[in-house]
């Protein structure tokens, strides 16, 4: 649940960072879904390995 908390908080921040109308060339809102999925999945694997 802690990791879920990190992901939720980060998703929220990324959402608001990308939802406002100004352009965002550095962090592209269109790629947010894939990037967050990749990051979340990799973090879950890392944490799971450590806990074994």
């Amino acid at each position: 649940m802690k990791l879920a908390g990190v992901v939720l908080l980060f998703v929220g921040a990324a959402t608001f960072a990308s939802a406002f109308p100004a352009g965002a060339p550095e962090i592209n809102a269109g790629s947010a879904g894939s990037a967050l999925a990749l990051l979340s999945g990799a973090l879950l694997i890392i944490r799971a390995r450590r806990k074994q």
Binding site: M1, K2, L3, A4, G5, V6, L8, L9, F10, V11, G12, A13, A14, T15, F16, A17, S18, A19, F20, P21, A22, G23, A24, P25, E26, I27, N28, G30, S31, A32, G33, S34, A35, A37, L38, L39, G41, A42, L43, L44, I45, I46, A48, R49, R50, K51, Q52
Partner: protein, 560 residues
């Protein structure tokens, strides 16, 4: 520093000792309810933000509310943390109000209907009545969702100690909205402290570092600090504040702070706090490298790849790499880690069931980001996704031999149903009809075209369904219930776990998140019926196969 096992999993504002916690698999305290509400809000706000921002000032109101509500709650918590603990403990005993979530969905659909009617300009939403209806449905959408997670009586108890603090929170929220959101941030006409005191010097720093790196690699560098243009006569770019490193650094600030806060018992403070600026600095430097690489790609003769593909992907790739490095290496440094390193850790780490379920999906996402970054619209490197995922699946084949890959007729029906739903909901997705695939394929020779299509179809009906079903149905449904997910029966679920896995699956599909979420629910249903991963994979593969046939037959490449 030692802690009892019970306190490890409890958020700071939960766990009042005076109330006995009910032994239920589905109990939600205050922080989890806030988190779920935020997730729901984010999931719904992303795709409809353009409708909310369009006019009538609703976007402004929402932006003010986004600052106002958390700030007021923060003040309330500081004033009376005991009240939060008490309310949280009581909410653990209360059931989630599913009927109100149903009302929320009904209000959301009404709001969307009115918004789309307005977009179609059919006169339904004109005049005062239309405006009142639009605002009312929008307000009810938020109110029902809020009520479902935190009842009004509990919410009032939380803020009743704040007295006149709501005025202060409102003033700050309005000021923040005006200063940070409403203003154009690179506006030389209006003095803006956000720009003049930090943005311009920081952008200058990025410009100087890129200039230095480029001059080490190229001989004909042109750099104009007045216009912020940098590159070569053949290819140059403008470094604006938006690409100067602020966004990535801000995301790193959020990530590193959240990471240290949630896993605070694993770190040694105060020295661990140094990791936050260190992570931000690394992210800033990585952005300098990103801009330098972008210019080098453009100079090397691929300006379209530099602008279209690399530009949009490299920021996320850099952030993902820095964030993962932060998570892995921050604990390796003994000065920061609260846990002494032991010799038994490497041996214990060899068993990781999560990796078998998630690694193909993670590799698929990583390969997708790389192949998109190397493209200029048309993803010519798509075969990389298929090959990378196939190699990963092969690597974990012994683990997959333990799973049940059989499937039944119901999974075929499910696949067919999702295909119909996908096409039916496509008109509401707002997806762009123009796709780079058609022109991209036309530019290839016949053998190249056939090879690309073969890999695209294999990806759609084999590697993608297997990787995604392992991640979302095989893993996530049970992982939401327990960290020790592999010990649970594959048919074990809660309504929350199904909702989380389906919505996460839907969000992965961007504009088509509604169709994706519905598809996730259906695949979850066929998977959970007998606990066979084969049912979900076959249903998913059949949907994608039918979709591929439809795309090839109709030429509607945007559906891919």
């Amino acid at each position: 520093m030692t802690h009892s096992p019970a306190s490890v999993s409890e958020p700071a504002c939960e766990g009042a000792g005076s109330v006995v916690r009910r032994q239920a698999s589905f109990s939600l305290g205050l922080s989890r309810r806030f988190a779920l509400f935020s997730l729901l809000f984010a999931a719904e706000f992303i795709p409809i933000s353009s409708l909310v921002h369009k006019d009538r000032g609703a976007g402004t109101l929402l932006e003010i509310a986004v600052v106002f509500v958390p700030l007021l709650l923060a003040i309330a918590y500081v004033k009376s943390p005991q009240t939060f603990q008490q309310v949280s403990a009581e909410l653990r005993l209360a059931r989630l109000r599913w009927s109100l979530l149903g009302a929320h969905i009904a209000a959301l659909l009404a709001f969307l209907g009115l918004s789309l009617a307005q977009a179609a300009n059919n006169g339904l939403l004109s005049g005062l009545t239309g405006a009142v209806l639009w605002y009312t449905t929008g307000f009810l959408t938020l109110a029902f969702a809020g009520w479902a997670f935190v009842p009004p009586r509990a919410a009032l108890r939380l803020v009743r100690h704040t007295r006149w603090a709501w005025l202060y929170a409102l003033a700050v929220a309005v000021l923040a909205q005006r200063l940070i959101i409403y203003r154009t941030l690179w506006n030389g006409a209006v003095w803006n402290p956000a720009i003049d005191l930090s943005w311009k010097p920081a952008t200058d720093l990025t410009f100087g570092m890129v200039n230095m790196l480029l001059r080490m690699l190229l001989s004909n560098v042109i750099a104009n600090r007045a216009t912020m243009m940098i590159g070569t006569p053949a290819f140059h770019v403008e470094i604006t504040p938006w690409c100067a490193g602020f966004e990535g650094t801000a995301l790193m600030l959020v990530f590193s702070t959240a990471w240290l806060a949630f896993f605070r018992r694993e770190y040694r403070f105060p020295q661990a706090l140094l990791l936050v600026p260190a992570g931000m600095a690394v992210m800033w430097v990585s952005n300098v490298i990103r801009i330098t690489a972008l210019i080098l790609i453009g100079v090397a003769g691929a300006p379209k790849v530099a602008i279209s593909g690399f530009h949009s992907q490299a920021g996320w790739i850099a952030f993902t790499c820095v964030a993962l490095s932060f998570a892995v290496f921050s604990r390796q440094l003994t000065w920061f880690s609260a846990e002494p390193r032991t010799e038994t850790q490497p041996q214990a780490a060899t068993h990781n069931p999560t990796a078998a379920y998630l690694m193909p999906f993670v590799v698929l996402m990583a390969a997708g980001m790389v192949s998109t970054a190397a493209s200029s619209g048309f993803e010519w490197l798509y075969p990389l996704r298929v090959i990378a995922a196939a190699i990963t699946l092969w690597y974990f084949r012994s683990k997959y031999s333990e799973l049940n890959w059989r499937f039944g007729w119901l999974s075929a029906l499910a696949g067919l149903a999702v295909f119909g739903i996908w096409l039916g909901l496509d008109r509401f997705s707002g997806a762009h009809l123009d796709s780079p695939i058609g022109p991209g394929l036309a530019s290839l020779g016949s053998s190249g075209r056939l090879t690309w299509l073969a890999f695209r179809i294999i990806g759609a009906i084999a590697t993608v369904p297997i990787a995604e079903e392992l991640a979302f149905r095989g893993f996530l449904i049970r992982r939401v219930i327990s960290a020790d997910f592999d010990s649970l029966n594959p048919r074990r679920f809660t309504y929350l776990s199904i909702l989380v896995s389906s919505v996460a699956f839907g969000l992965l599909h961007g504009d088509r998140w509604i169709a994706g979420s519905v598809a996730g629910l259906i695949y979850a249903a066929v998977f959970l019926r007998r606990g066979r991963i084969g049912d979900a994979v076959f249903a998913h593969a059949l949907t994608n196969a039918l979709l591929a046939a439809w795309v090839l037959w109709s030429g509607r490449w945007y559906l891919w």
